[in-house]
Each structure stands twice: as C-alpha cells, then as structure tokens.
Symmetry: C2
C-alpha cells in the first residue's frame, strides 16, 4: 500500500478504494452541507508507523459539532476502530491530514448518519529540520457581521465545524485574486476573527492572544489551544480577546494556525508588512509541535 | 418503474439506482459544501407524462451560481439531456421536485465537476382542486448581519444557491422547537429577508413586494418572479423593496414561495396573527400556477 497517496474508510465498511463512490445522491451532507468534520495531523515514520496528533481532542470537537447539529455521533470507540483500520492501511512517511466527516445521512431512507474518514499525504517529514519559519501573505476580508452576531442565535451554528464551508473556499479564491496566500476574516465593527481553515494567534507585549469563541461564531482551534497551553507552561500569559485589525500591524507576530500546517507566520497583511521575528516564530512552532 | 419513488441521474452515467453511491469521499461538494443546486417543479399526468416547470429559468440560475463559484457548468444541452433521461424513467402522477446539483468535483483527481439530479415525488395531483390556501406558521430568526452585508463582498456568495445550506436546515429545526412550521430570516437592522428554502412575498396596499437581491445576499426566487410577472399582467404594481419586520403584521398577506410548494400563506408570525384573505391567497396561488 506504500504507493497509495490516500486512504478512505467508511463506518460499517472499513477501508475502501478511494475512487469508489461512498455517498448517495440524497445524502444530506452532499445536498444541504448538513454535516460536520474535523481534521487532525498524522505523523508517519520511515518504518511506516503512523500516529494521529491529539486525536481525542479532535474527536471531542467533532462530537460537540454533531451535538449542535443534532446528529448522532457514532462515538469515540467506533471512530477509534475506523481510524485504526485506516492507519493500518497507511504507511507513507511524512506528514498527512486525517479528515473525519459525519453527515446527517440519507434523506430517502432511514440509514442513520454517514461517517467516513480520509488520510491525505501532505509533505515529507524533514526530521530535525531547523529552517526559516513557514510564512504566508494574507488579506483581510469581511465576514459581513458584527463581532457579537452569534449571541443567542444557535441556528447560525457559530463554533460548529460544518461541511457548509463554501464561503471559506471562496475567500481563499479572493485572496489568490489579490495575490495573497490566505485570509484573516474581519467583523463589521473592525476586529480580526480567524482564517478560512485556521485559527488566529497574535503575540503582543509578551502575551499570546487569540479570538474568543462564542458570540464571534469562530471555531475553537485545537492547535491554537495546544500552543497556548505550551506557552503558559513556559510562563507566557495568554488571553482570549478581540484584536482590532489595526493592532495586527503593531503586533510582535501574527499567525494562522491549523492542525495540518501548524502555525504559519503572516509576513504581509493587505500588502503592508507585519513583524517577522524568527526566534519568536520558532518558539511558537515548537509550542505547536512543528 | 411506476413503483420507484425517486429517480437519480448522473452526468456521464445516465439514470442510476437511487441506492447506488454516486460521490467519492474527496468530492468537494461533500467535504466543503463547494457546489450549487437548483430545484424545479415536476408535473406528471395520470398517463405518466412528466414536464418540468420553468426548467430553463432554473438552469439559468444554476449557471449563474456556478459562475459565481467558478465551477464549469456542463451547459444547458447536457442538463436537458440528463433531465430527459430522468423524465423518461419517471411516471409517478402528481407533483414532484427536480433537484439539479453541481459540485466542484474531486479533490484528488482531475475529474471535472460532479453533476447529478434527482426527482422526488411530493404529493398526488388533485386536478381541479379548489380548497383553502396552503398555510403555515412561522417565526422570525436573525441572520446575524445587516441588510447591506453583501455589498462589495462577493466572497460571501450572496445570491448564490450553494449546497452549503446547513444554517437553513438548523433554522428550520429552531422553528420546530418553537412550535412553528417555517422561518422568516431577519437582518440586524430590522428587515425581513426570506425563508430558509423560499422567497418572501408581501401584499400591501394593492401592491406586491419582495425583498431585493444584491446587498441583502438573498437568493433570487424563480417562483416569486413568476408571481410578480403574472400579477403585473393583471395590473398589480410590484416592487423589490426591504420590508420592516413590524410591517408584516399590518400587511394584507405574507407568503413564503418556492418552486416545490408554491406560495404558502403565513397565518401566524412569532405567534401573532397575520392577515388571512382567502380570495387574495387564491389569486396569488393562481399567479404561481398552483
């Protein structure tokens, strides 16, 4: 199986051919974006032994997303078994992304939820690599709502990692049109939110800040929380607070953070330079385990 | 095939078993809600001859959605052929809904967009039925944004009928929790928008009003436009203008309008009564061809 760049496993079927269709035309995840997902990092050594980073944290977030959508989650044990089956079929050394998908299931049959996962190779693992930090450029794009839009409005599904992700995809295309790599979403009242597929991390005056969840509607980031916990263990204060967009330009460092690529330092925002502190960037990467 | 309650047809394959999976685990419509759809009404007579109402209008709107998402639409001719194949396999007398779905296609292979359709039986056709108008109750739920949120923000995909539809589904669940049938979405500045799967129509002082598209982000409704055109032909003035939520309570009639169920009169909104004028409701239903 070493030549296979992807593995797909379906609950109730186990590992299947990635080219085999797995979802019917009436699956509500497909026709309504009515489902949720989570993504975790997979590390595979040269011997082909693979492990998932923070799997239970990601399964916990998936279960919370499912609860918000009132979809029955198959449960930690069923997911563990499915992940184990997929990992047994996976041996490509390096970094990969595990994606877990859960949908409401079929509209025309009482089939129960649809649950499947995939593993996708991202890059070769450069053991002991000490290079420059991973960097990107970004643009700010409005989300069209104020920073408290999700207060008392659970039907807007703030904080729920649903598969209705098309605005995130469109925002990435807009960034590319503007010659940038990624996006920081903003509120109509002038605050930074997060990225289309990542959380926001800001270093400022010796503290680490990230956007609060809840009223803002942003997704909790497993990897941002892991960075903050590691930073606190190193004596850094951390805070969940709204950061005005203009303050990003005077910060000591601004990162977009995801499970797949870790913390990525933003060097330019809307074509204006941001602080680039290599030592700090390496420290943040280390806190994230990258 | 008369016993089959659903038909599914896939571009490149034709009609397939509705229980046969048609989409792979990496289809971006499934994993990212990155696709669009459209729904049209199907009428089938007792002899089993089926026709689609306003098919080309719905194909036109689907093509506009695809353009906004930068997905290659297979084109009117390909859709016509696929619809013809599906109609040939369909003979259940009554009303049905044709759903056309187009996604960006597979992430791991250069497969091109995924295009398929389904036909689902809705109800038996009662020829010549002259009964009370179809009615529902509704609640107002905020969309969390002001009425001009989509101005100069094309990445928010205002007016694009994407498959990232989960908030619409969640809003319907919230309505059910509150003991109502459906939802009128509202803006943070106090205007009525539309329903989760329908357009809004308001009768007031001898004119018919509907919410403007564009800055509001709402979807153009093929059926609302058909009603307005028919009303104008009968001498009624029609306008696209924002209606304050409070004005709904003093209107002569408020409807949610979709291709599948036509205009449905709202009798109560947030448990407060709305005007119910049977003669007017029948006139509106007639304008819609229901």
């Amino acid at each position: 199986m070493t030549e296979v760049p992807h593995v797909v496993a379906v609950l109730g079927q186990g590992v299947v051919d990635p080219d085999q269709p797995v979802v019917t035309a009436d699956d509500l995840g497909l026709t309504r974006g009515d489902g949720c997902f989570d993504s975790a990092r997979v590390l595979t050594d040269e011997a082909g032994t693979a492990s998932v980073v923070d799997l239970d944290d990601h399964l916990g977030r998936l279960a919370r997303s499912a609860r918000a959508l009132e979809i029955d989650d198959p449960g930690v044990e069923a997911w563990h078994d499915l992940v184990a089956a997929a990992l047994a079929a996976w041996s490509t050394p390096g970094e990969a992304i595990l994606k877990l998908v859960l949908t409401r299931g079929r509209e025309w049959r009482s089939s129960g939820p649809t649950a499947f996962l995939s593993i996708e190779h991202l890059r070769d693992l450069c053991v002991g690599e000490v290079g420059p930090p991973r960097t990107i450029t970004a643009v700010t794009l409005t989300r069209g709502h104020p920073s408290d839009a999700f207060r008392d409005a659970p039907w807007l599904l703030g904080g729920v990692k649903t598969v209705s992700y098309v605005v995130n995809v469109a925002a990435r295309r807009e960034a590319a049109r503007r010659g940038a790599d990624d996006v920081i979403f903003t509120t109509t009242d002038g605050f930074a939110l997060d990225g289309p597929t990542s959380g926001l991390l800001v270093a400022r005056d010796g503290a680490l800040l990230t956007t609060p969840t809840g009223d803002t509607g942003i997704l909790e980031s497993v990897t941002v929380e892991a960075v903050l916990a590691a930073a606190r263990a190193d004596g850094w204060p951390t805070r969940h607070e709204l950061v005005p967009v203009e303050d990003l330009y005077t910060a000591d460092g601004v990162w977009l953070v995801s499970a797949g690529r870790g913390p990525v330092l933003i060097t330019k925002l809307d074509a204006r330079p941001l602080a680039v502190d290599d030592a700090l960037a390496k420290q943040v990467a280390g806190w994230a385990g990258f």
